[in-house]
Subunit: 470 residues, 2 copies
């Protein structure tokens, strides 16, 4: 019996135990997803700026993952994995739906037969609300949150720099152009209202902030206050948002029975920090794939834990389902595994391997301390300070309303040095978390093992991308 | 009998004649005031850009003044003169009410005992509506448009770069921060709605656009379309606004019985054009004081007239009153004179002299072709192209939402050469419209005459600033 199978059994036991508990009163679930936030941006992950006391308090009162991954360093496929529990190669949304791009990317959407977390929570009595960035399809209303399991929606259907940036309320345009300076304030107020409205029943709130994705924007109350530039102001306001939500839970007596998760969809972009990891968003080096992840549920998740078990956003799908007493659909492969063995028992291994995708391609495999670049990672260059640079998606004051001071591509969020990220490069993340020294030559057997794991996954996922027709 | 007295008699006759006509059906009045628009910005005044066909059509179908003046090159006192018929030294609002300045300027407001045009039109059966920039006081609601004669108000109480930039609807904040890109569109839509709502009765609509005052802003439909930069885009949208209003009047069958005036509160700022005049806004050279002025009323104002008679914004107060069959209050000095002798009979002289103020000080006198700088005009320097410049009131994307590309102080709107604008400088505006050659030395008798006229006015206005207590 392989370790993965053992863990699967443990997970089923854990889910069953939780299921029994949930029968009395299912927990509320709040999943807060920041956009392009790097783990180096948070005080609890070592940011010297210390702008995130409320988020750090979540970690102090719960668990903080240090080796947590997005399945891909791109927004949409990563979010689809979170809500389906499946790697991009299986759920099939391999790029970002883009309203101002080519017709092909304009029409991208998560396949209609994918099953999303809120669809499974709803029949379990959950009120399901989404606020913020969707990015699983915008072209036709059939792919909008309200048609994919959420009772309510208020947000921007894609990135806050894609035109037209417009706020959707349920299924109508509520604001265009969008005053981005007040977006975090308004998302937060909606979140508080949602919590209050559903205080008497279990709810699932998916709050996917627009920030700190460019264009960065903060309200007047936070503008210029952090002492760390606009990016710092944005972090402070996101932290304020978490503080408001936690205060509301306490005020309503809900904080003991609410599982709160805070994470990000991929590593940091220019201006942010990946805390010494290599590279940034859109790369499959650690700076692109590694994300912060914090979970708090008093009584269920022991306080103050730091968890070094590698895990992936996909894992929240079965984890949250289990918390609500549910089980994943049995008609398809689910890559995610419930995190409860890790959260509750500090299990050191959940997956034999985790994977990183870029577009259609599996590019990286991680297993324990080792990471293999199966395919080369496309680098993302930094510019020299002051080098001319025009962002075609920058605020223009007409269609995109946001502060004009944006990060410059010289403000690289990660390490930009080290051996080439060539196909076949192997890094020992325990000894070399910054992926500086390619040790493939010294460990051919590890390279071979990781290659085999990736080949196995590619084969399995290509055979099972869609559930079989009946 | 001096000429001024003769004209006064003519004016009274004209007013009486109009009064009789008005008894059958008083005309609608639409006064469109642009902010910082220079006469060189309009095609009908010679702009080679030709971005203003609808405004130019007003001129072709009515009268265009070539020697029309603001009484001062500052927003608030100029607007107060328009609505009271009195020079700043009499109405007493000598500076701009400024919400983000010192307490003294924050509290500035037009004196409560000043009588405003809409207060006099209302009892004559007029619906009175104001849209746009007020700037006659903001600190207490007693000084707002709805308390000074207007039935309805929708706009910003001061300049669109003064914080907090907020839209007021009647007496409440309707939007903050303000999406300035859609301001002209929304002001126009409100104007059309006002016209439609009051089609059955005479109305007075005072539409005081925010544009082209900085920060410049246009809607998506006009952004980047003029081929003349953001300033050109703004002009094109203002012209579109006039086109919409005229189309609405035609559609409702009101255009024959509506007097439409288009003007500006002072000369152009950086980025605009004063059409070869010297200097710019905030100066008492012609580039600060001279404004475009166009009036259209089919049947009453012969079409296609170009009028070189010097006149002042103050003159519209008795002119519009007369059009509605009213007469100015008799308890105070009114500096404005009805323009009907000029508009209807092309009278070559209306005033023996007109004056230009800066703050508390009378600085210029014009009489026929001559202009004397009684006091020195404070120059406003241009910067070299690309010179570092930070506008503390620039859009920031947080409290002021507008396109980021603003005019640079190198884009000087007027001539920036010529003899010093010293106290005592005399210019022959007929021979030297650009005020380049000081001819005081050659015409001491003219200097003396103009000095005497200014001294006479200063004495008279200081004695009569306020109506005497009963």
């Amino acid at each position: 019996m392989r370790l993965a199978a053992v863990l699967q059994v443990v997970a089923i036991f854990a889910a069953t135990a939780l299921s029994a508990a949930a029968a009395t009163r299912s927990p509320n679930i709040i999943f807060i997803l920041a956009d392009d936030l790097g783990s180096g941006d948070l005080g609890s992950y070592g940011s010297p700026l210390r702008l995130t006391p409320a988020i750090d308090r979540l970690a102090a009162e719960g668990a903080r993952f240090t080796q947590f991954y997005a399945p891909t360093p791109y927004c949409a496929p990563s979010r689809a994995s979170l809500l389906t529990g499946r790697y991009p190669s299986r759920h099939g949304l391999l790029g970002n739906p883009t309203p101002d791009g080519t017709p092909a990317v304009d029409q991208l959407a998560l396949a209609a037969d994918e099953i999303l977390l809120p669809q499974l929570l709803r029949p379990r009595g959950y009120a399901t609300g989404m606020i913020g960035k969707w990015h699983l399809g915008h072209k036709t209303v059939e792919s909008w949150p309200t048609r994919r399991g959420f009772d309510s929606y208020y947000g921007i259907l894609y990135s806050n720099d894609m035109r037209p940036v417009q706020l959707i309320k349920q299924e109508s345009v509520a604001e265009y152009p969008v005053v981005q300076a007040t977006l975090t304030q308004r998302y937060t107020q909606r979140a508080l209202d949602f919590i209050t409205a559903h205080r008497e029943r279990p709810f699932f709130l998916y709050l996917a902030h627009a920030m700190p994705h460019k264009p960065l924007a903060v309200s007047e109350k936070f503008a210029g206050k952090s002492g760390a530039g606009l990016y710092g102001d944005v972090l402070a306001e996101l932290d304020w948002s978490v503080e408001q939500i936690m205060a509301k839970l306490r005020a309503l007596g809900l904080d003991d029975n609410t599982l709160v998760v805070f994470s990000s969809d991929n590593g940091a972009y220019f201006g942010g920090s990946n805390g010494g990891l290599r590279g940034m968003k859109a790369m499959t080096s650690e700076g692109g794939l590694r994300v912060p992840c914090i979970a708090r549920w008093p009584g269920r998740i022991p306080a103050g834990q730091t968890l070094a078990t590698p895990a992936v956003l996909n894992d929240w799908f079965p984890t949250l389902l289990a918390s609500a007493g549910g089980t994943p659909p049995g008609d398809r492969a689910i890559d995610g595994r419930t995190l409860w063995p890790v959260l509750a028992e500090k299990s050191a291994q959940l997956h034999e391997a985790t994977f990183g995708f870029q577009g259609t391609t599996l590019r990286t495999v991680r297993s324990a301390r080792w990471k293999l670049h199966v395919e080369a990672s496309q680098p993302r260059a930094a510019l020299k300070p002051g080098a001319p640079w025009v962002d075609p998606r920058a605020p223009d004051g007409v269609t995109i309303l946001a502060p004009v001071g944006q990060a410059h591509p010289s403000q690289y969020p990660g390490l930009n040095t080290g051996d080439p990220l060539r196909a076949g490069a192997l890094f020992d993340l325990q000894a070399d978390p910054g992926e500086q020294h390619d040790v493939a030559g010294a460990h051919p057997e590890i390279v071979a093992r990781l290659r085999a794991l990736s080949a196995e996954f590619i084969k399995a996922s290509s055979e099972s991308r869609r559930p079989k027709s009946p």
